[in-house]
């Protein structure tokens, strides 16, 4: 099948993903493992549906990682990034240095030359950005302390690739600095200068030109053009970074951060997201396909012990550093288990090292396999951690990973016990109602439980958990989580299986509110609407309105606006899925403001309360 056409290849990749991912998800193992297994099955060492050109596919698909870092950059305000500096430089830096040194020592002990050992140390100290971030975001762990720390480490590793690429040629065994770098003509300081100029260029262009450029493109009202522009931007930056010898992922990450405050941020996100998703999937599949089962069968003991040693060593370093940098218990366990694999940079660096005769192929081949296997192990380890290790760390046994819920008699279930759900829960309990709370953030559960609330850990998206929470007897379920897609999923799940129950849901904004209503929620409240209205009412008072009149004006506004949400529910259709949210928000707002201008809050001259 080596000469199978592009379409056949694409078909095989996609089909394998379509089959494997739902299976892995159902088993609770996350999509990444599904992709990896799909790759192993279709790869040259499995059924050989795809040929030996997997490396080529992988090199292309690595671009998915670049897109992912761009998207992560978009989510990160520069100020947020600045706040992370200690953990990036401290935690990330120490992780790379200590892990490298540990592997260096192991190499020396095994009788390798110091140059080889150092090269191995640097290469293997990397973790897989793609696997870690994808897995953590699927588990909604990215925003937790563990997720932030893991991200800091990955970010530092991305930066560390630059000096590594500079140091590696110096370690060449034969001493000849052949094709050391593509731009060996430049001396060290010139290169540094070039790097600074390029990064500054990205920042300046991003700040000053992007807004102007995107406005022109957006005004064409051609969606494809906007998509193309977004891709040109990211691909262009990646190419530029490669030219000056920087990591493309790092470059696009910087570009993302620069654009994080731009009003086109959401549009960029929604344009790039599908490409990222697809490319990452292809990337994971090609990693799976590259697993050399022949080699594994030939030397199983060696390979397996190397995998264990690599992951064990990394976990040791991570666990100690995590503790030093303030991660405790569950957070530290999540952090440690997430980052214990070898990274995709290892593939690149191994090739680089072999080509520059730094490392002999006989050493590299088994290690490439070890890295790939460590990637496969990661989703398994993360799941094992959740099932068996986290429950023990929580202090109270028998009660973690979907707690056994005993209070079958509560009339209300509250899903999500963050800032929003807490208020609802406290109000209900103050009025003597027994409630059942479901919360999927383990640390949150413990805190809240310490204050005597009945809070249970678990994913409310699972019907079996809802059932054990007593949904069949409950009269009411309050969905108070902030993640819209999950809320939507829970609402439709509950509505499908329990048509009688009353569903109250928290919504982000009007469109999400309309979507939740359409999915079957009986009542929605937008999370910031009422508080904004209250502040607006204060503003009216400050401008001289009598307090009651201001209240009345705010109520009239609320009433009209809520009617509007119901109207929106009725006109929602499939455009939601295709057109992009940011543009819709802008259009909604424009329509609303026009209506506001036409209608007065109340025909004033005939109102009693006026004077």
């Amino acid at each position: 099948m080596h000469d199978s056409g592009l379409l056949t290849q694409a078909f095989v990749f996609l089909l394998s993903a379509v089959v494997a991912v739902p299976l892995a998800k159902r088993a609770g193992l996350g999509s990444v493992l599904g992709y990896l297994c799909a790759g192993a099955v279709i790869g040259p060492f499995g059924f050989a549906f795809v040929g030996q050109n997997v490396d080529g596919v992988m090199a292309f698909a690595e671009f998915g990682v670049v897109l992912m870092l761009f998207l992560i950059g978009l989510e990160l305000d520069p100020s947020v990034l600045w706040r992370m500096r200690v953990s990036v430089l401290g935690l990330g830096g120490l992780q790379v240095v200590i892990t490298s040194l540990l592997i260096l020592a192991a190499g020396l002990a095994l009788g390798l030359a110091w140059q080889e050992s150092l090269a191995l140390g640097m290469i293997l100290s990397m973790s897989s950005t793609a696997i870690v971030l994808q897995s953590m975001s699927e588990k909604s762990q990215l925003k937790t302390a563990a997720g932030q720390s893991a991200f800091s480490v990955l970010l530092f590793q991305d930066m560390a690739v630059i000096p590594m690429l500079a140091i590696l040629p110096l370690l060449a065994m034969d001493g000849s600095l052949v094709e050391a770098t593509a731009h060996s003509g430049l001396s060290g300081w010139k290169k540094t200068l070039l790097v600074l100029v390029v990064v500054a260029g990205i920042v300046v262009v991003g700040r000053l030109l992007s807004r102007w450029l995107f406005r022109i493109i957006a005004e064409t009202r051609l969606r494809e053009t906007f998509t193309a522009t977004a891709l040109v931007l990211v691909v262009g930056i990646a190419l530029l970074m490669e030219q000056v010898g920087l990591s493309p992922a790092l470059g696009t990450f910087v570009a993302g951060v620069v654009l994080a405050n731009s009003e086109y941020r959401h549009e960029l996100e929604s344009e790039i997201e599908p490409f990222k998703g697809l490319l990452l999937a292809v990337f994971f599949i090609s990693v799976g396909a590259s697993i050399d089962f022949a080699l594994l069968a030939a030397k199983p003991l060696l390979i397996i012990s190397l995998v264990l040693a690599l992951m064990g060593g990394k976990m040791l370093v991570l666990a100690i550093l995590g503790r030093v940098f303030g991660l405790h218990g569950q957070s530290n366990a999540i952090f440690t288990f997430a980052l214990a694999q070898g990274g995709e940079f290892a593939f690149v660096l191994f090739t680089f090292a072999t080509n520059n005769s730094i490392l002999p192929p006989s050493l590299v081949e088994p290690l490439v396999l070890v890295v790939a296997l460590s990637m496969v192990m990661t989703p398994l380890l993360m799941t094992a951690n959740e099932r068996w290790i986290l429950p023990r760390l929580s202090g109270n046994k028998a009660r973690r990973e979907h707690d056994v819920i005993d209070s079958g008699d509560s009339r209300a279930i509250v899903v999500g016990f963050g800032r929003f759900g807490q208020i609802i829960g406290r109000l209900l309990r103050m009025n003597g109602f027994n409630i059942t709370v479901l919360e999927h953030d383990a640390t949150q559960v413990d805190t809240v439980r310490r204050f005597g609330h009945q809070v249970f850990f678990g994913d409310a998206g699972r019907l079996d958990l809802l059932e054990s929470a007593g949904i069949s007897q409950a009269e009411l379920i309050v969905i108070a989580i902030d993640e819209h897609s999950r809320a939507l999923q829970i609402v439709s799940l509950v509505r499908r299986h329990y048509p009688q129950i009353r569903i109250l849901a928290r919504a982000r904004a009007r469109r999400q509110a309309a979507e939740l209503l359409r999915a079957g929620a009986d009542h929605v409240e937008r999370e910031t609407f009422r508080s904004a209205l209250a502040l607006g009412r204060e503003a009216l008072c400050a401008l001289g309105y009598r307090a009651y009149l201001a209240r009345r004006a705010a109520e009239i506004f609320r009433h009209r606006d809520e009617l509007n949400v119901y109207e929106l529910r009725d006109v929602l259709d499939d455009e939601t899925a295709f057109f992009n949210r940011a543009r819709q928000h802008a259009e909604d707002l424009e329509k609303l403001m026009q209506e506001d201008m036409q209608l007065d809050t109340e025909s004033r001259e005939k109102s009693w309360g006026r004077d």
């Binding site: 009345r552 109520e555 009433h559 009693w608």
Partner: protein, 167 residues
Amino acid sequence: MVKDLQEVTVRDLYEEYPDFFIDVACEQELVRHHDIIIFMFPFYWYSAPSLLKEWQDRVLDYGFAFGINHQSRKPGDTNRTDLSGKTLWVVTTAGGPANAFSEKGIHRHPLEHFLLPYAQIANLCGMRWQPPHIIYHVRQLTQNYLHQKAEGFRQNLLTLLREVDHA
């Protein structure tokens, strides 16, 4: 007790508007579609509970309930409003016995006297004033007593409905 009657719309204001924000347009539309407006309330401090007063303040607006109505004004018909010709009927319950509402009782006046503002509302809005239906001594609160009184009200309402129908 009267909810089952097809021609009656029961508007439980405290259930409808717990935040005291009355949807004026909606209420006015309802009023337009009915011939008899009944204010039914417990008698608090010689008047209606605050939300019903708020309803009056908001819904019985200039141009709708009194003054010139631009919609229905015809030549020579200067004082017509949306309420003209409708019937206003107050149905109220008092905790104390009937004799407490007399010159010698603690309230010093018959209950009907305190309803003077309502009679004048009817007058200003061009409505027909139906003598109030008053149930005293609900503090007694036996089921039997209440049923009996409710049945009395229901019969009075049915009579009134027939009258309005014939008119």
